[in-house]
Amino acid sequence: MGFWELFIETIPGYKDAIINTINITLLGLLIGLGIGLFFAFLKVSKLKVLNIIADMYIYLVRGTPLIVQIFILYFGLVQFVDLGRLLSGGIALGIHNGAYIAEIFRGSIQSIDRGQTEAARSLGMTSTMSMRRIVLPQALRRAIPPLGNQFIIALKDSSLVAFIGFQDLFNRAQRIQSSTGMAMESYIIVGIYYLILVLILTFIVNRIERALSKSERGVDHE
């Protein structure tokens, strides 16, 4: 069997694997965005103790490998609760990416000139109001490119859930290699699937970025 025959014959078997990879990545990103936003606010807060909590979280999560986090959630946590493969993997991805996303949000919030906040305050806005109406809309737009980057990393990192037996793209490739003995072909094929997914993701992120910058044009005078 050659490369193209293997490629075509494995398409039906890859259908579920693609859906599973998309699902676990989306789950991870949604959780990651929530966690990221939360810890970004802690980091820019004026309260020292909140800064420290955020720093601790980011240090803990960035300092340990994703595969360790996945195994803790899947094999470790089962003594108390069985999350199953999708949830264990998705939450681990979310926790992991949340730390990086927190830094992205923090960076983009702090990149907005302090003068804007001061101006807003002098016009009578409360600090929450100026954050919500002035700083966040601009910060969000600035966060999109690095966020898109992080989404791509998350998509590729989701391949690690194969090791807890989640039936994602990489898992499928390992099985095809095992049963056909065609290592080179199996992994090039799965590489192509990842490239296609990354292409789609890049397209979506670009669209979001364009939509946001269009509606911001009147406001932002950089």
Binding site: T10, G13, Y14, N23, L33, F75, I164, Q174, R175, S178
Partner: protein
């Protein structure tokens, strides 16, 4: 614009959830005349690595199949349950999966050993086989287990083969794999990274035949093995029921039929 962004995010979540719900629909639901309680009512959930052709593996369409998968399906039917084969990818994780109630039983070519019997209970053996040393066709200096010393030997992590080769080689020379099939394929490449692989004789023979591997078995079985289904320690109800169902399949010829389909012989003895 914030609204638009949120809409997109919410839309993505929705699509994700929809497809997630579509995941678990492969079986038509329990039949209702189960003879034993299982972790999921009406289903017999049994696991293997899914990387052990011809015992448990996925075909190109992505369906789990192999001798043990078909035997598990037959056992399930005999017990009035729907079969639910699961592949864990990691052989070493199987015992953990049974202990944590994620699997009713291991049907993943797990040899019955005293050590393992401390953490799980084994059914009667459902096949017998043995470990064989495989080498590349160009290798001539390995003829017995003693000769393995100082050579790179590939085995599946946490397997009885790993235990066995560790009597002859040091940790440095131990190369662990997730799949015996992959280890054999690696051996066939003929590089220095592997000098020998110890695995089941049926697995090795099938790989040589199907994939034209450049490897050969050395001598006879190094040791004999009995393979049984593993259930959670103390789950005698399920264990007795598996033993009963197994005996029924042997008596009515179903076992032999499945075995002959995969191996042209009965591998019970």
């Amino acid at each position: 614009m914030k609204k638009k962004f949120m809409m997109i995010v919410i839309g993505m979540l929705f699509v994700g959830l929809l497809t997630a719900c579509g995941d678990e629909d492969d079986n038509n639901g329990p039949t209702g005349d189960a003879t034993v309680d299982t972790i999921e009512d009406g289903y017999f959930t049994f696991g293997s690595s899914g990387l052990y052709k011809p015992f448990n593996y996925e075909d190109l369409d992505g369906n789990l199949t192999g001798f043990e998968v078909e035997l598990g399906e037959a056992l399930a039917e005999e017990m009035g349950l729907k079969p639910k084969p699961v592949a864990t990818q990691d052989f070493g994780a199987l015992i953990e999966e049974v202990k944590s109630d994620r699997l009713d039983a291991i049907m993943g070519s797990m040899t019955i050993t005293e050590d393992r019997a401390k953490s799980i209970d084994f059914s009667d053996p459902y096949y017998r086989s043995g470990g064989v040393i495989y080498v590349h066709n160009d290798t001539s200096d390995i003829e017995s287990p003693e000769d393995l010393e100082g050579h790179n030997v590939g085995v599946v992590a946490s397997s009885t083969y790993e235990e066995m080769v560790m009597e002859y080689i040091s940790e440095d020379n131990l190369k662990t794999y997730q799949s015996d099939n992959v280890a054999l394929q690696d051996l066939s490449a003929g590089t220095d990274r592997l000098d020998a692989v110890v695995t089941d004789r049926f697995v090795g023979m099938m790989q040589i035949e199907e994939n034209d591997l450049d490897i050969r078995p050395v001598g006879e079985r190094v040791f004999d093995e009995e393979i049984g289904a593993g259930v959670k320690k103390g789950n005698t109800e399920l264990l007795d029921e598996i033993n009963r169902a197994l005996q029924a399949l042997i008596d009515n010829g179903t076992y032999e039929e499945i075995s002959k389909k995969w191996f042209d012989e009965s591998i019970l003895e």
